[in-house]
Amino acid sequence: MANVARAFVTTDVILVSELAAAVRSNTAGAIVTFSGDVRDNDHGRDVSSLEYEAHPTAQNLLEKVASEIAARHEVLSVAVAHRHGPIPIGESALVAAVSAKHRKAAFDACADLVDEVKAQIPIWKHQVFADGTDEWVNCA
């Protein structure tokens, strides 16, 4: 049975290497990581700054999603972290790491974990564009 090594929301920088180290073990043959980074453009428009807002339940729900992924796939260990507050361009907003005996399970579980976090965790992205306009993403 797989374990959840880490699952947290934070306003600090998230290090991919830290989550990768958290899922590492001598029985794991494969570690797959994902880093969702803040881009300087979106739909062709220049993004000048970006901020995430997290609902108070985000931490608990992130733990729940990580547990579901650990149970659903043939993996050894799962870690996930989501940053909120202002995030400089190029830094990670969402980081996931999965270890498994075999690579296919690690790839599948990591992609599934990212999909579920995006679908289930109450976190919102606010973008300010170079022209001064702003938007809450996904909300017309």
Binding site: Y52, E53, H55, K118, W136, N138, C139
Partner: protein, 79 residues
Amino acid sequence: MAVTVRFYAAARKAAGVTELKLDAATAMQVLDKAVETHPNLAQVLPQCSFLLNEVALHDLNTQVLDNATLDVLPPFAGG
């Protein structure tokens, strides 16, 4: 019942306030009263999901107890 409505992200922007305190018997009534005083909410509410005392609310006809908190959550955009 005295209810607190909390607005997040685009819902907060539409409401223009972080939270409202009002009197209502059901979740639907809470939202109707909120739209009355903050009409811009009408555009964002159809896209929102709701938490009643931090638990997902699936039926807006649910009755609210005194001192309940209703959270208004626009579509998530994490990651």
